[in-house]
């Protein structure tokens, strides 16, 4: 009898797939969960973007002492901003978020402006509150515009070209194209794609490792001629296929959601077409095969289902924490970034969305790193499956 047989391997894999797919409740929850989470995020982003845009357009400016600056009020109203004169208790209300900002006009504003002295307006805001930032930004711009307009008129009256007062003009050229700016939103998508590649495998990995011990089917299995390598590979293949199913479901969910939600109307030309879909799958396929390997190696540790479960939870949180490296990093990514598992996948997925070219070396990392990790994990998994300590002295 041969020590390793592909026939037995495929028998194991086929049985595990049948067994896993028959657990309809878990399978449905896992697949439905990951398939729905992508579209849900897209819809959420849509509403967030819509509400930000709506708030910037339909803005109200609370102005304290508005009566001292009637020209400013008229200017703002012409620019489509409603003015709320003299909001009571404005500092407290800015602090508690009822108001995003407040403009405070000095009582001697009109007098100072008329006599050519510098007149002061104070912008009261809370910089730590993110949602107020676009509104504060818009009002700052408008007040500056008003000031520039008056300054220019004065200089023209005195026969001086406005350019004289501004020897240097700072022009802003934002290098992030519209496409790139929208991709920042879509980084969330990279995260959820990886999330699908993780979630799809958890229930299945738990079932074929801890579940096998819980049902007490491991021992009978080991008394048959099946080799632990065949068992390990068969189980891995079955879990990986289920995981691949979850990843595909999630990607199709994105594809459909981004076709249905009218993001283009908001000036966010999100692109998730055939090119992005292919790019995502090219990154996610090796990932979808690696994750089950790691989860199985962890899941096989421990004599009891409970031990296996807690060991597996540890693996899940490890995988979940890695993309935080690029999530939180402020500086340019170092060269080894793409070689860090999970984190690298995250970086390359983001690149795919930004429509940037992906280097051959990066593609190599996307396939070589998962292959290597998977190999190590599978060896560990097979050794644990066959370890008699796991059976002895229960």
């Amino acid at each position: 009898m041969s020590a390793f047989s592909l026939t037995r391997l495929s028998i194991v894999a086929r049985k595990e797939i049948v067994d896993l797919l028959r657990d309809r409740k878990s399978i449905f929850l896992a697949l439905f969960g990951v398939a729905i989470s992508g579209p849900l995020v897209v819809c959420l982003l849509y509403f967030v973007a819509q509400s930000i845009q709506g708030r910037i357009e339909k803005i109200t400016a609370p102005i304290v002492n508005a009566q001292f600056a009637p020209d400013l009020v008229r200017y703002l109203e012409r620019r489509g901003i409603k003015v709320e004169a003299d909001p009571p208790d404005y500092e407290a209300r800015v602090k508690n978020g009822e108001l995003d900002v407040a403009l405070v006009v000095e009582p001697n504003f009109a007098e100072a402006l008329a006599s050519g002295r510098q007149a002061t307006i104070t912008l009261v805001t809370l910089s730590s509150r993110e949602r107020s930032a676009p509104i504060a930004g818009r009002l700052t711009g408008e007040v500056r515009g008003y000031a520039t307009m008056i300054g220019n008129e004065r200089m023209i009256l005195r026969g001086i070209a406005p350019a004289v007062a501004r020897p240097v003009q700072l022009e802003e050229l934002d290098l992030s194209s519209v496409e790139q700016r929208s991709a920042r939103f879509l980084q969330m998508m990279s995260f959820y794609a990886l999330f699908a590649g993780l979630m799809g495998a958890i229930a299945a990995a738990l079932d074929v490792t801890a579940g096998e011990r819980e049902r007490q089917t491991m021992e009978p299995l080991l008394t048959t001629p099946v080799a632990v390598a065949e068992l390990a590979l068969g189980k891995w293949l079955a879990v990986a296929l289920v995981n691949l199913l979850a990843v595909t479901a999630s990607m199709l969910g994105f594809l459909i959601a981004l076709k249905l939600v009218p993001l283009g109307k908001l000036g966010l030309p999100f692109n998730f077409g055939a090119r992005e879909f292919t790019g995502f799958m090219a990154v996610l396929i090796p990932f979808a095969f690696m994750v089950p390997g790691v989860l199985l190696a962890f899941g096989a540790a421990g004599k009891t289902a409970k031990e296996a479960q807690s060991s597996l939870t540890l693996a899940v949180s490890l995988v979940g924490l890695l993309p935080l490296i690029s999530w939180l990093r402020q500086t340019k990514a170092p060269w080894w970034d793409v070689w860090v598992p999970v984190n690298g996948q995250f970086a390359v997925l983001s690149k795919v969305l930004r429509a940037e070219a992906i280097l051959p070396l990066e593609w190599a990392a996307m396939w070589a790193v998962p292959a290597l990790i998977c190999l190590v994990a599978l060896i560990a998994f097979a050794r644990r499956l066959g370890d008699e300590k796991m059976l002895a002295g229960r």
């Binding site: 049985k15 028959r22 049902r215 089917t217 009978p220 080991l222 001629p225 099946v226 008699e388």
Partner: protein, 259 residues
């Protein structure tokens, strides 16, 4: 045919003196200590002993789940350690763990093991059908095993162990938890295996069962084989006329549970 020569198994046990102790101490427990006996074809051999005597560990070593620390054993001439694959093919094992795949049907459970034992798909399916008929499982053979009763589960586990028609059969407490009817049909099954000329080794702590079935008895206590012979020899050696009294005398303790 099973030949066992001086089989030993030791476990390293880590234990704490109390639930709050920080340091665990390790202790070496000898579960099986120099056990030797033979079990012949066409005979039923009973492995008898109190709880914790080493019966399960002995059977686990014979079924290649654990490797012995010392000694050797041969199944139909194949060495337990060096010819493991051959041993596994010759053996049918109903071990201590008798779990089934809940979501698979009885037929699928049995067939899976047939395929793993190296039977071709038609052969495996045919053997599965035969066993389902013999064990009276046809009414529920195509239902998931989740809703089976204890006795029905035991039958599937037995069929799974016998699917490749092994020459040597190991049964670890096969009547544990069964009702009277199921126990009787299990006895019938063991007698049937004996009639087919197979070598059956089964463990039990129930005297009556051993007396009713066994051609030979091996009594194990604290990891040692304290007696090996026919039921008549047990009585003759001890000079007692009840097997139960003889058993208690041979293991040298009246304490039983409290030993």
């Amino acid at each position: 045919m099973i030949e066992i020569e001086g089989l030993c198994k030791r476990f390293t046990v880590r234990e704490r003196t109390s639930a709050f102790a920080l340091k665990a101490s390790t202790r070496i427990v000898t579960a099986v200590d120099n056990v030797s006996f033979n079990a012949k074809d066409g005979e039923v051999t009973g492995l008898l002993g109190p709880n914790g005597a080493g019966k399960t560990t002995t059977l686990r070593m014979l079924s290649t789940l654990l490797s012995p620390d010392a000694g050797s054993a041969r199944i139909d001439g194949a060495d337990l350690v060096s010819e493991r694959a051959k041993v596994r093919q010759r053996l049918g094992v109903l071990g201590d763990a008798k779990g089934l795949y809940w979501r698979l049907t009885a037929r699928e459970n049995i067939n899976y093991f047939g395929r793993l034992q190296g039977l071709s798909l038609p052969d495996s399916e045919r053997r599965t059908r035969v066993l389902i008929d013999e064990l009276g499982l046809h009414d529920l053979a195509d239902r998931p095993t989740q809703g089976y009763s204890q006795g029905e589960r035991m039958k599937v586990a037995i069929a799974r162990a016998l699917v490749h028609n092994p020459q040597t059969v190991l049964l670890d407490e096969p009547t544990n938890g069964l009702d009277i009817m199921s126990t009787r049909s299990m006895r019938e099954l063991i007698r049937g295996l004996k009639a087919q000329g197979k070598c059956v080794l089964f463990s039990s702590h129930i005297m009556q069962e051993v007396a009713a079935l066994c051609d030979r008895i091996v009594i194990i206590n604290k990891g040692r084989a304290v007696f090996s012979g026919t039921p008549q020899e047990v009585l003759a050696t001890t000079g007692l006329d009840s097997l139960e009294d003889a058993f208690v005398k041979l293991i040298g303790s009246e304490e039983g549970l409290f030993a």
